[in-house]
């Protein structure tokens, strides 16, 4: 039985939240500016709780089980993070309060900037970007501003490997850049010859995801960076896969110029059903003046018995403001809390176990599945979801059948350069028993694919709904269950 919508559950006159009557003399309302109808639903508080509780039960979540969505780092979200972000001394702070009254918020942000700089090897950090995609946008804007500041105006192209996330080209296009795709070689690395011939005086930068979306560390990363720098271009690092590198290698040390972090991936802030994320950006010393406004800085030095005064600063060649107020502060509190529980040495364990888990899982299923590039993987790996002796079965069928076994499917059909890609990222927070159970399910499905392919083609069987008609959704376009009726 489908859950009705809040509009269908509505009963005229029912009250959900009651407010006090005004304690001030009544003022008149302005003529012609007051609405007649307000077509919102009317429910009781229990109606609301039951509705959303029932909806919640239709969701798969990290709390419910393994969520091996490649490139998304669906690790456990520690509950203390939630408690920290909800502290009244954080949640109740207005962004425009005088700086003297918000020294706690600013100190936390300042320390998080320093912490992320230390983890990544960058010199300057902005905490402003709202998500990874906005971090990319900031990075590309900085690349543009850097070249323009040097009067180097013919750099109109951004080089992007064919394995990159779709946000890379989309972010570059937003800044007016032309995209030059760079192919991947037979080992899953950037094709060095192609990169060399693509690099010239019109190249503004390379967007490099490392480990790349195949889950492989670029073996020739130092050479890649050297080639790009030699052409006068900058290297942008997509930090989506940073969960493989904490305490393992610092992107800034490798020579990468700019990188965004995804606090919602690497640093355990929850994915929230699709946001809010947080996408801070780190840059090398020669780019710090281009960071978006504001950055948090010490505006009055402290002394032995006086804390310094923290405040806002606009960098001298700032690309400008990218959102209102001060970044996704609530997410910053969560990430800061998380990092403090690992410390300088513990962070390395995160990546060690993320990579161990991925390699262990891969070892369990490598006889049953074709591996796109057969190397030691980092925190994730990419399989081909198809077999010659099961001709009708595609990756989507495997993904859907996994739901019957109680698992969230991996990312499928990405990266685009692998046929029927299944991109699997277990993260470090999964235990061996869960990995074994998932491997067993994948092995069972591989067998079913050959013997009972219809089981896969018709999957999932145990979910609240089956495969939905996406063509109908796009054609009929029902995006709203309240039809605007301006006469109401």
């Amino acid at each position: 039985m489908a859950e009705p919508t809040v509009f269908e559950l509505s009963s005229p006159g029912r009250i959900g939240v009651r407010y006090p009557v005004p304690d001030v003399p009544e003022s008149t309302m302005p003529d012609g500016l007051i609405r007649n109808s307000l077509p919102l639903p009317e429910l009781s508080e229990q109606d609301i709780i039951r509705h959303y509780t029932r909806l919640s039960k239709l969701n798969y979540s990290v709390d419910g089980g393994l969520y091996p969505l490649g490139s998304c780092t669906m690790k456990y979200n520690p509950r203390v993070n939630e408690k920290a972000a909800r502290l009244p001394g954080f949640a109740g702070v207005h962004p425009f309060q005088p700086v003297e009254t918000v020294q706690g918020c600013l100190a936390l942000m300042y320390n998080l900037q320093l912490t992320l700089a230390e983890i990544s090897g960058f010199k300057g950090i902005t905490l402003q970007p709202a998500a990874g995609a906005q971090g990319e946008f900031v990075g590309v804007a900085i690349i543009r501003a850097y070249h323009l500041s040097r009067k180097d105006e013919k750099r109109t192209k951004i080089l992007i490997p064919d394995s990159a996330h779709g946000t890379n080209p989309a972010s570059s296009a937003m800044k007016g850049f032309e995209i030059v795709p760079i192919p991947t070689d037979k080992d899953g690395n950037i094709d060095l010859a192609a990169l060399t011939s693509a690099c010239d005086e019109t190249s503004a930068g390379l967007m490099l995801t490392n480990p790349n979306t195949l889950g492989l560390f670029e073996t020739h990363v130092l050479e890649v960076i050297r080639i790009v720098h030699q052409a006068g271009a900058l290297v942008y690092g997509d930090g989506a896969n940073l969960n493989a590198l904490l305490g393992i290698v610092r992107p800034g040390d490798l020579g990468i110029d700019i990188m965004h972090f995804n606090l919602h991936k690497t640093f355990s802030t929850p994915h929230g059903g699709g946001g809010p994320g947080s996408g801070p950006v780190g840059v090398t010393e020669n780019l710090v003046d281009f960071l978006p406004t504001p950055v948090i800085d010490i505006i009055e030095d402290g002394s032995e018995d006086m804390a310094p005064l923290y405040g806002f600063r606009t960098p001298s060649h700032s690309i400008g403001r990218v959102k209102s107020f001060n970044g996704h502060f609530g997410m910053l509190v969560r990430a800061f809390t998380y990092i403090s529980m690992y410390g300088g040495e513990g962070l390395r364990n995160i990546s060690e176990y993320a990579v161990l888990n991925a390699n262990y899982l891969l070892s369990r299923i490598r006889n049953e599945y074709k591996l796109a590039y057969d190397r030691v993987c980092m925190h994730e790996f990419v399989l081909e979801g198809r077999w010659d002796d099961a001709p009708g079965v595609i990756a989507l069928d495997i993904a859907k059948r996994l739901m019957d076994y109680g698992f969230h499917p991996p990312t499928n059909y990405f990266p685009l350069i692998v046929h029927d890609a299944l991109m699997i990222e277990p993260t470090e927070t999964e235990n061996k028993q869960t990995l074994d159970a998932f491997a067993d399910a994948l092995i069972a499905i591989a067998l079913e694919a050959k013997n009972e392919p219809d089981l896969l083609k018709s999957a999932p069987h145990v979910t609240p709904v089956g495969r939905l008609d996406e063509v109908k959704a796009a054609r009929d376009l029902v995006l709203c269950c309240w039809i605007p009726d301006r006469e109401d």
Binding site: L40, S324, S340, V465, A473, L477
Partner: protein, 450 residues
């Protein structure tokens, strides 16, 4: 803690891989840079970490301790307990973008209902699944308008009474779009102009006119004649709203707005020092294929059961790459959920009640402040819950004095508008009572004399 491996399990896993140590997995990393020592404090237990973070939070003063008359785009409202109860469910907050609809119907239906609630509130046909915040929603409105006219109408007219952060963000986003020229808020322009005065800037090369309602100064104008003039020139009218005010005010859809954007923080989202908030984005149905961001639509499965899916994904970056309408990859999922729970719980009655409380209290506050010698309230235009006060001294000094009495004073408009030096923007919500307002008035009187 969060890494569950026991020593013996790690041993078994390494053995399965034929390895002696985890370090062997990292041989692709250049030697010289492998395993850097990170100079960070040692690990804390949960108990220590929480107490450290709590101590940091306690060095702030917050709206819990202070009487808040500060707004300017972020407002101190009561959040019913039901909102946090719902968004604290792990089934919602530990899920991701609903790529697999069969096991994401909870999130998908919640977003579909969010879209419906926003459409109903704004009087528009469709809403997307949300943007990051009010500023980025304004920027995306500019991007939409640019693409709608295929780049052939590069001019965008914005009102000087659009939030300063929204205007700055639009400029950052639109640098790089060929020939885009953002006009209307130049330094010589009277920040308090009537929106109809923007018409003189609108020409055949204009794609979008963007105004705020209530505007940054809290003022409300009938936008119907502006809409008519903008449409005569073939351009789109965008309106940035405070959605809470629409519990009372005529929605922009009724004035003929083509795009409605806004900061959704007032709908059940904590102030949290500026984020995460919620970017509202709604349009007329003719623009739906130009919308950036996620959209959820209704469909059926093979057995005819109703269900929801992400739709029109062909616009998006993971398919269209550089040809997509935006690079946005997520939405503000959990914040959209919070606002949907807020809107559904308050409903018709509660939204009217809270908007009315804000309106009544703000008008009482304005009438009282107007009586304080040396202070003047600019109330020649109707306002919602925020208004301009001309002060006898610098706003900064007055605010310091108010702070001494536990009052968070208004926003200093001189920071953004040189001609509004010594002008304070006061916001009044349901969270203050008559005594608080009387105290404010009393202290303002002292501030002037003292």
């Amino acid at each position: 803690m969060f890494i569950p491996h026991t020593e013996s399990e790690t041993g078994e896993m390494l053995k399965a891989l034929g390895l002696k140590s985890i370090d062997e997995l990292f041989e692709d990393i250049p030697d010289k840079y492998r395993f850097p020592k990170l100079d960070l404090p040692p690990a804390l237990s949960e108990m220590e970490a929480f107490s450290m973070v709590q101590a940091i939070s306690q060095s702030n003063e917050s709206t819990q301790d202070l009487i808040c008359f500060l707004g300017a785009g972020a407002y101190n409202h009561y959040i019913p307990a039901v909102v946090d109860a719902v968004i604290s469910r792990g089934e919602f907050f530990t899920a991701y973008t609903p790529y697999q609809p069969e096991i994401s119907q909870g999130t998908l239906q919640a977003v579909f209902e969010y879209q419906s609630l926003i459409a109903a509130l704004t009087g528009m046909d469709v809403s997307n699944a949300s943007h990051y915040d009010g500023a980025t929603a304004c920027a995306e409105a500019g991007v939409l308008a640019f693409h709608h006219f295929f780049g052939k109408r590069p001019r965008i007219v914005i009102s000087p009474s659009l939030h300063p952060h929204y205007r700055e963000t639009m400029r950052t986003y639109l640098q790089g779009y060929a020939d885009v020229d953002i006009v209307g808020d130049e330094s010589g322009v009277n920040p308090l102009l009537h929106p109809d005065q923007l018409v003189s800037k609108v020409d055949e090369s204009t794609s979008l006119v963007l105004v705020q309602y209530p505007d940054f100064f809290g003022r409300i104008f009938d936008l119907s004649s502006l809409a008519e003039s903008v449409h005569e020139k073939g351009a789109l009218l965008g309106v940035a709203v405070n959605p809470l005010s629409l519990g009372l005010l005529k929605p922009p859809g009724e004035f003929g707005a083509d795009i409605v954007v806004g900061e959704g923080q007032s709908l059940g989202i904590p102030l949290s020092f500026g984020g995460p908030y919620l970017g509202i984005f709604a349009t007329r149905k003719e623009l739906v294929r130009k919308l950036a961001g996620r959209l959820v639509g209704e469909s059926v499965d093979q057995q005819g059961r109703k269900g929801y899916v992400l739709t029109l994904t062909a616009r998006e970056q993971h398919i269209r790459r550089e040809k997509s309408t935006s690079n946005i990859c997520t939405n503000q999922g959990l914040m959209a959920l919070a606002s949907a729970v807020y809107l559904s719980s308050l409903g018709k009655n509660g939204m009217r009640a809270v908007a009315n409380l804000c309106y009544q209290k703000a008008h009482y506050a304005a009438s009282q402040i107007a009586r304080v010698p040396g202070f003047a309230v600019l109330d020649d235009v109707p306002f919602f819950h925020e208004f301009i006060v001309h002060c006898p001294d610098s706003v900064e000094e007055i605010n310091l004095h108010l702070l001494d009495h536990g009052i968070l004073g208004g926003y200093d408009l001189g920071c953004d508008y040189p001609t509004l030096k010594n002008h304070m923007l006061i916001a009044v919500t349901e969270m203050v009572d008559k005594e608080d307002i009387d105290l404010l008035t009393e202290i303002l009187g002292e501030a002037h004399h003292g």
